[in-house]
């Protein structure tokens, strides 16, 4: 009888844990869901590609793979054409859920499973089936590539054998804008990924570069020098009606959009590089109060609107993040050119190592860094389709 009672109590405890994990915000698991510590997760039953994808993905969101006896969560299952997997809280005898993933490739199934695990543990939006674009330099030639967020399935998008820079996605992930030198002077090209069709989006007198499409898909911010200095302009998404927003003699650069598409954060130079914001209709630029000195460049606004990530330094770069409304910036890790993932938690950035550049993924709260699968060549200027 005594043994029986113990079993029942264990089962009951498991059910309570399960319930508290399923209902948002219960006290017991709050810390592990939103906290800044590495969550310990065990992984059993998987091999090969499924296992390596799950390990990679969970690591990207600040999780450490440990043996079951020290894990906070247990991931188990198997793969045989489809993935069957369960997620359990340690100590519980019943899983939080059991799910099956079918169709597509094993990689995709594993990414979908990992998305569900992360949604449960970290309460964040899925990112593991996302795509990135970046610039790859190899033997003096540069091309734009598109790949899965982890660097798998890389596809060269251009074959121009000309200098090309700064890919930027239009919302929806079907069109890319980038700066190309293929016709001699810089032009901004718009590239439809479904048809392969390209068109010259902007090729004004002077130079045209650094396009950034607004999150609502209606406008493009860019740098044009037709007014005599490299200044910030905004045009309609069709390319027409370019309006000059800034008028400084010193150069402006690196525009990025607030998620409501009403404000642009950019780099201007007043003595040294610093961040300012300006409304899409123009007006007086406002300094972004960061609280640190240094050359501040390459800002990116998080999709949830709360944060601006940026780069500080000259040569030895570090990533920083600050509240979008102003406040104290926090240093994250070494690296440059951050771009937020759609979950407003993960950042993809580039890092200089051994005379080349590589792309890395950063889990902002835990500061855990995971290198993207390496390609031969130097990879930089990552842009996450969102």
């Amino acid at each position: 009888m005594k043994v029986k009672i113990q079993h029942i109590i264990a089962a009951l405890m498991g059910a309570v844990s399960a319930m508290s994990a399923m209902a948002d915000g219960t006290t017991e698991l709050t810390v592990t869901k939103t906290g800044t510590h590495m969550v310990k997760v065990s992984l059993s039953g998987f091999t090969g590609e499924a296992e390596s994808v799950l390990k990679f993905d969970l690591s990207v969101l600040g999780m450490e793979i440990t043996p079951p006896d020290t894990a906070e969560y247990l991931v188990a299952g198997h793969e045989n054409g489809r993935i069957e997997g369960t997620l359990s809280v340690a100590g519980s005898t019943r899983p939080l859920w059991a799910r099956t993933y079918a169709g597509a490739a094993t990689r995709s199934q594993a990414h979908a499973f990992a998305d569900d695990i992360v949604k449960e543990i970290r309460q964040t939006a899925p990112i593991f089936q996302g795509r990135i674009a970046f610039r790859l330099e190899k033997g003096g030639a540069t091309e734009i590539y598109v790949a899965d967020f982890d660097g798998a399935n890389p596809i060269p998008l251009t074959h121009d054998g000309a200098l090309v820079q700064g890919p930027s996605w239009a919302p929806g992930g079907q069109r890319l804008f980038y700066t190309s030198w293929k016709n001699g002077a810089t032009q901004i090209l718009e590239h439809n990924l479904e048809t392969g069709m390209r068109r010259v989006f902007a090729g004004y007198p002077g130079t045209s570069f650094s396009p950034e499409v607004s999150p609502d898909g209606q406008k493009v911010a860019m740098i044009l020098s037709m007014g005599g200095s490299p200044n910030l302009y905004v045009s309609d998404i069709g390319g027409g009606n370019p309006r000059q927003l800034t008028h400084s003699r010193d150069e402006d650069s690196s525009p990025c959009w607030s998620p409501d598409s009403r404000t642009i954060c950019f780099v201007c130079r007043k003595g040294r590089a610093r961040l300012e914001t300006i409304g899409v209709e123009g007006g007086q630029p406002q300094p972004v109060r960061v609280g640190i000195a240094g050359n501040l460049t390459a800002p990116d606004w998080s999709p949830d609107g709360k944060w601006i990530a940026f780069t500080s330094g000259s040569g030895n770069f570090s990533l920083w993040v600050m509240p979008a409304g102003g406040g104290v910036a926090q240093q994250l890790v070494e690296g440059e050119d951050p771009c937020w993932a759609p979950n407003s938690r993960t950042i993809i950035f580039s890092r200089r190592a051994n005379n080349k550049r590589i792309l890395c993924l950063l889990d902002v709260p835990t500061k855990h860094v995971k290198d993207v699968r390496q390609l031969s060549g130097s990879c930089s200027e990552p842009s996450w389709a969102r």
């Binding site: 009888m1 029986k4 009672i5 029942i8 009951l12 059910a15 319930m19 399923m22 489809r82 069957e84 019943r94 099956t100 993933y101 079918a102 169709g103 597509a104 490739a105 995709s108 199934q109 979908a112 569900d116 330099e137 190899k138 033997g139 030639a141 091309e143 596809i155 251009t158 074959h159 054998g161 200098l163 820079q165 700064g166 030198w181 293929k182 016709n183 002077a185 439809n192 479904e194 048809t195 392969g196 069709m197 390209r198 068109r199 002077g206 570069f209 650094s210 740098i223 020098s225 490299p230 150069e251 650069s253 690196s254 590089a273 460049t297 390459a298 000259s314 050119d337 060549g377 930089s380």
Partner: protein, 203 residues
């Protein structure tokens, strides 16, 4: 004994209620069908001119094998008639800049005066390309703007010396075209520069 039975009854009841509330107990295994993103087409740039695009027949989308270095700054597409790009003419007149600066230094002014004098005095000199460059100690988009500002600084100087502004074209390369790859000020100072390309009609 009575107490134990009561406890068991209570536990069982609670467990049943929990199961009813959470729905975890008898939740069917759900299957997620993944759309086949792997086989979703991502179209490359077409290897021939794509109909309906704004890329004109004179500027076809050409295909070049991967990893082949481009020819350095080819400006033939900028002009309607055949032209020569002459980058030797002003080889001695490369204008250098201080770190993170686009100010023309006093030491560089005679070079610009030479460029202006040659350009104004040469009948065949049709256009001048000014290429702005940076060292590697900046983020890429920042360097693009800085390189353009450096090219524009030289352009302003030449225009002040009487060179027709319509005949000068600026191009920025950011840090993508270092004169001397390598680390350290001895290399970097040679990369922070403006170079001049003389455009003459092809005979």
């Amino acid at each position: 004994m009575m107490k134990t039975q009561n406890l068991v009854a209570t536990l069982t009841l609670t467990l049943g209620l929990l199961a009813a509330v959470t729905g975890c107990q008898h939740k069917p295994v759900n299957t997620t069908i993944i759309p086949d993103l792997q086989n979703k087409p991502v179209a490359n740039a077409p290897s021939t001119e794509a109909p309906g695009t704004a890329i004109t027949p004179s500027n076809p989308v050409t295909s070049t094998p991967e990893g082949t270095a481009e020819t350095y700054g080819n400006y033939t597409n900028l002009f309607d008639n055949p032209h020569n790009d002459n980058r030797d003419q002003f080889k001695a007149d490369i204008v250098y800049f201080d770190f993170d600066s686009s100010t023309i230094k006093a030491s560089e002014e005679t070079k610009l005066q030479e460029v202006a004098a040659y350009f104004k005095g040469n009948q065949k000199a049709e256009a001048l390309i000014i290429e702005g460059n940076c060292d590697e100690r900046g983020t890429e988009k920042y360097n693009l703007s800085l390189g353009e500002r450096r090219a524009l600084a030289a352009r302003e100087y030449l225009v002040n010396l009487g060179v027709d502004s319509h005949r000068i074209k600026t191009v920025t390369y950011g840090a993508s075209r270092p004169a001397e790859p390598g680390k350290g000020e001895e290399h970097w100072k040679k990369n922070r520069r403006d170079e001049f390309v003389l455009i003459t009609p092809k005979q």
